[in-house]
Every structure is written in structure tokens, then in C-alpha cells.
Symmetry: C2
Subunit: 390 residues, 2 copies
């Protein structure tokens, strides 16, 4: 039986998410990369391998070959550098590849980045680009959009489990509250349940505050073998597992529209590899591209029974201070969703929480174990990563 | 010191390259995948991990999320599945990731695919899509195309080393000759030096026969630990090394336009890891997106001194039967260049050669060691893979 090396995160940094009119894709990657390198106290020359998550550089800014591009712009040539794409789970997938590279023993210092520059195209064009994450021939070709697909899921879910739209609103209100405390968040405004319920419709039952924004942003995490991690930081964060899984792209082929089996499979394997139980998790980052997705995620990750997630939200348990703080940075909804960067941005937030370095009001007290959950499309890819404070 | 597992290829298959008007991206991946699975005598359920090389699914056919898509269409859910992109080196990069996954001990049976569907857009649009592999801000934005960039390289090379255009023609003639013997090749016609020299200009000094075509195609290789490979095949092919390296995207930042440092770096490391010398290599697949690229490759891989490659071509040494048979399948020029598939297609050809299963007239007698060289863009990525017959 193969005995892998333990892997730790020695630094993690992200840009602010938002509409960065003054920054291109390379600038965003550079900003997050330089911050992470400085925080680790290493030089770029120490990095042996680079994995970059990016969903649609080609369609957003005419740029593919993003791995080599970032290595070039950060002065890291000639190290191996690749782009990993798994739609909106590109960042999480890149992280899992970086983990593999260190765990295997083939590389020591590995940088994992995620970057997306989305605002150089018009919003309606962005929606069209994003539909590249669905099954083109069976969904996008017929005019499906992601708000539309998630509206189908939401409609079914609300009907099936007799849940009210107020539950979706509670997700948005909580994420905007957390975002208001996070200086890197795209949106810093608090909203009320009433705001969410009366906002302009996007695809019923989803309204404006049910949908994550189109954001520019980048995030970088630097990995090292645990045995040497303390050379770089007093608080290495251990990667206990980072597991991707796949499912059908099109909703029509799923056994159940309201369950993301990729999440279920990735989570079961990740908890098993990490030797950790659900109840031990202190802080969770889930993929709330739409509010309905957050409810599904909490259920599919196994934190409650199917159809029961809304109770946690009505009770306020998913706020910082509750029994299961979720998306303490504001999530995709308020912190932003630069698609290829999101999975790495989640890791950055967990590292901050597990180090006890989150801003006042949003630090989960004594957080020891965190979980990140990153989804591609409507669930064809899910990556579940479990981290712990050493 | 970490001791990795040895890795073997247990099967490898490719589609014919060409203009497949009746097949979409999924169909091509399916065809190559099913052939590889059947050849390995395994079931799809045995595959634990899937890596797919694809350059521009988004811009060519509106489809990203290619890893999960291929897993879905081949019925492999819920296994982890990701797309790797490194421009025209996406296939080689995917192979190196699959190698890592098995070498690490984390996965046993791993499928590596490469696929590109290029002919659903007009040829001039394909040229524009492909320019996503260059530095958008410093090259593509100003109207650069790949024929243009390689024409700059060729002009400099012919001047610097006092090489005549006939040398480029010799590359094309040899590759078309090999292609004429390969049933999977895009072009099966033989050409003469005169044909090549008098063909319509594309970007001087490059003419029609100096440029690889726009092809549809897919290729799949299946990897397993060497220790169990003989369960699946009598002739496992050992992966001795698979090494990527990076360089600047834009030509203007290179120390020398006529040397691809990514190739030099990847080759040096690969030969060192493989404990093999240049003279021991029996058959070579290099990235001849343009004829000039094949001359650079032979030099940068270390098979001859800088500026000396043309001699091997004038002497006919790079034909099957020569001292250094190069692109025995016809190379990118004649066998075709479905960009994201090319790096895996090269592996398929080497496996065929090392097993002694190539068609009559193009089998390298007693081939024991093969090398594949896959380039992204104008050299910002290079992947060098060395295989040997067990």
C-alpha cells in the first residue's frame, strides 16, 4: 500500500473580487501570486510547479495557454505550468492537482492559482460563455442558461420538500451579512429577507439576490510537504483530503435533480480519507452560485438530511457563531464568483479562518477543521477539500 | 527520497484525423476511448481517473468542462475527471498528469485522452481561435497569427544558419511520405520538394506544405502500474519520463528566437530522469506544426548541434530506415494536428512502433526507445516523454 506524504498550505492570498476595470487577467494573477509568495517568505525560484484554474480565458479575453502565461508573467519559467479546467470547479480541481503533485513526492513547493477576468465582455455575453459549462448539445444549444437550470432545480426542490422561497432568501441575507464584514468581498451591503423576496426576477423562483455576480478575481495557495512546512510558517494548514468527482453534465440524465451526486461521492471519499466526521467540521465554504445550490450542498455534503437544510438557515445556525458557519467570506453570492478562481478563493478563506486571522465579527472561534466545496456547472464536477489546523 | 512507482501504457488508440463532418467532439472522444478500453481488455469501471487534453473547446464548439463531459459520455461517472490545457501541448500535458497520478500511487488505472473538434468553425476563425495560445496582449491583439510567428522564426533561422528553404521542403516531403503509409493520417498523398517550394505562400518563407492542417481527432492512452501491467497486455510500454517545461509566451521576450528553451529544459530533465542517452533513441515524434518547428525540435532535443538539423534531412536520416526516424506517422503536417489531441496521438504512434505493430514500410525495425515532443504555441510549453519497450 502506497504511503503518501502529508501536504500543508504554507500561504494563501486572494485579490478583492469585483469589476476590476484597471486590471487584466495577468495583473490579477500577478497580484494574488506576489502576495502569496511574500507571505510564504519564499522566492519565486523556490516554486517547482504551477497549476492554474481557469474556466474560459479563451472566450472571456481571447487567451488560452493560461498556465504558461502565468508562469511567464510571474517570472517562473521554465517550471512546468498547466491550466486545469473544470468549469466553475476549475480552482478546486487545480488545488486537487497541486495536492497530488506534492503528495506524490515528485514536487516540493507547488503554487496553485485560480484566475478569471469576466468583465471584459457584456453581461449577456458572459452568461453565454458560462453556458460552456453545460452540455452544449443537449442544453446550451436549446437556449438553456445557468439561472434557468438552477431555477428548474429550485422549483423542483421547493415543491418536493415543501420549502418556501423565504429559505432561499435566508441564504442570500446570511451571505451578504458575512460579505459586509469581508474587505475582499465583491458586495459589502447587507440585505433583508424582504429585499431578496422583492428583488427583480432573473429566472423564477430565483431573483437578483439568489444569483452570484460576474466578478474578476484571482487567488493563490502555496503547498509544501508538511514535514518542511514549518520552515515557512508557524501555522501550516494540513490538507487532509482533496477529492474531485464527476456526474452527468445535463440535468436530464440525473437520477434526482435535487441531489448532486458528484458532491455526495466526493464528500464521502474525502471524509473517509481524512478520517474526520461531519460533526467535527467547524467552518464550511460551499458553492452557492445560486442560493438553491447552497441548500443542496449542505445536504449533499451530509451535514443534514435531504430536504432539511432550510431549518439550519431559519435558526441562524449557518452564521458565524452558529453550529455550522457557512460561507464566512460571503460565499459566491456576496464575496464574488470569478469562476476559475472561486475554488482557490474558498481555500484562502479557510486558511484565514483556521489561522484565526479573519476580520472581526466573522472569525469562527477556535476553528480547527474546515471544508471547501466547489462545483462545476450544475454539478457535473464537484471537488471537496478538507483542511485542518496543525 | 521518494521512490515513485514505475508506470506503463497498457493500450493506446486514436481516431483517424481529418474533417469529420459526421462527428462531434463527444463522438471523437468516445471512438478513441472505446478502442483503447477494448484493447486493454478492461471495462470502463476499471478506470479510476481521467485526464483530457483539449485546447479550445469553448471557442471551437461552445463546450468547456471537457473532463466531466468525456467521463459522462463514456459512462465513467463518478470518477474524477479533468481537462488540462496547455495550448497545442494540451495532450502531452494531460499525459504527464496521468503519469503523475499513477506514479504517485494514488490511482491505478488512469485514462489520458486528447480531443479537438476544429472544423465546425471557418478556417480563418480557426486561426483566430488558435491565436489564444499566444500572448494576447502582446501578440494576438496586434494581428499576429501562428503562421506569421513561425515565419519570423523561419526567416531568422534560415539567415542565421545559412540554411536554404529546400531544407524546410525536405521536412514536408518526408512527413507526407510517412503519412502516405499511415491509414489514420489526415493526408495520404506524397509530395515532392518542387511541390513544396512552389505551393501557394501562407506567410513567407512558409508555404502550404510547411503548415500543418486543421484537423478533428482524438486519442486515448491507458496507464497502469508496471507491476500489474502484464495482466492487461503482453507488451506494456514503460513511461521512463514525462516532463513539461515553460517559457515566455511572446517571442519578443526570448533570448533566442531560434531556440525553444522549454524544449531544451524538458528534454534535459527527461533524459536525466530516464537514464537514457540521445543516441539510444530509436524513433521520435516531434511537434512539426510548421516545418521549421521540426528542425528546431531536433536541435533543441539535442539530437544534433544548433543549425545542423537540415543535414539529417538532406541525407534522408529522418525517414524510417535512417539513423533517426522522425514522425513516422506523418507528424502534424501529414497525420494531422487536432491541437488538444496531438500530444496523445504522438504517444499512440510510439506505442505502435515500440510494439512493432506499425504498418508495412513505416515500422522502425527493432525499436526499443521512443521520444515524444509536444509544443504549445510558439514554445511557451513543451512536454518531452520518453517510452521504452519493456
Amino acid at each position: 500500500m502506497f504511503k503518501k506524504r502529508d501536504v500543508a498550505i504554507i500561504s494563501a492570498s486572494a485579490t478583492k473580487c469585483g469589476e476590476h476595470w484597471d486590471k487584466g487577467l495577468k495583473d490579477l494573477a500577478w497580484e494574488a501570486g506576489v502576495k502569496a509568495v511574500e507571505e510564504a517568505g519564499i522566492s519565486g525560484k523556490d516554486i517547482e510547479y504551477l497549476v492554474v484554474g481557469n474556466m474560459s480565458g479563451g472566450m472571456f479575453v481571447g487567451q488560452e495557454h493560461i498556465g504558461a502565461l502565468v508562469a511567464d508573467f510571474l517570472g517562473l519559467n521554465p517550471i512546468p505550468s498547466l491550466r486545469v479546467e473544470a468549469a466553475c470547479a476549475s480552482g478546486g480541481m487545480a488545488f486537487s492537482q497541486g495536492y497530488l503533485a506534492v503528495a506524490s513526492g515528485l514536487y516540493d513547493i507547488v503554487a496553485v492559482g485560480g484566475v478569471e477576468k469576466m468583465t471584459d465582455v457584456e453581461p449577456e455575453q458572459a452568461t453565454s460563455v458560462l453556458s460552456g459549462a453545460m452540455d452544449f448539445e443537449w442544453e446550451a444549444y436549446f437556449g438553456a442558461t445557468f439561472p434557468g437550470l438552477y431555477a428548474l432545480i429550485a422549483t423542483r426542490y421547493l415543491h418536493e420538500y415543501k420549502v418556501k422561497r423565504e429559505a432561499l432568501a435566508e441564504v442570500a441575507v446570511k451571505n451578504h451579512y458575512h460579505g459586509s464584514l469581508n474587505p475582499l468581498a465583491h458586495f459589502r451591503n447587507k440585505i433583508t429577507v424582504e429585499d431578496a423576496l422583492t428583488a427583480p426576477p432573473v429566472a423564477e423562483p430565483l431573483r437578483k439576490y439568489d444569483c452570484s455576480p460576474i466578478s474578476d478575481g484571482a487567488a493563490v495557495a502555496i503547498l509544501a510537504p508538511l514535514e518542511t512546512a514549518r520552515k515557512y510558517t508557524d501555522t501550516p494548514i494540513i490538507v487532509r483530503a482533496s477529492v474531485p468527482a464527476s456526474d452527468t453534465l445535463s440535468l436530464l440524465k440525473r437520477r434526482d435533480m435535487c441531489t448532486m451526486d458528484a458532491t455526495v461521492n466526493a464528500a464521502n471519499k474525502a471524509f473517509s480519507l481524512a478520517h474526520i466526521e461531519r460533526k467535527d467540521v467547524d467552518v464550511v465554504e460551499v458553492h452557492d452560485c445560486f442560493t438553491i445550490a447552497e441548500l443542496l450542498a449542505i445536504e449533499d455534503l451530509g451535514f443534514c438530511e435531504k430536504g432539511e437544510a432550510s431549518k439550519l438557515y431559519y435558526e441562524g445556525q449557518t452564521y458565524v457563531g452558529g453550529t455550522l458557519p457557512v460561507n464566512t467570506d460571503g460565499g459566491l453570492k456576496a464575496a464574488g464568483h470569478p469562476v476559475g478562481a472561486t475554488g482557490v478563493k474558498q481555500i484562502v478563506e479557510l486558511v484565514k479562518q483556521l489561522r484565526g486571522e479573519a476580520e472581526k465579527g466573522r472569525q469562527v472561534s477556535g476553528a480547527e477543521i474546515g471544508l471547501a466545496h466547489n462545483v462545476g456547472g450544475s454539478g457535473a464536477t464537484a471537488v471537496v477539500t478538507i483542511l485542518s489546523r496543525s
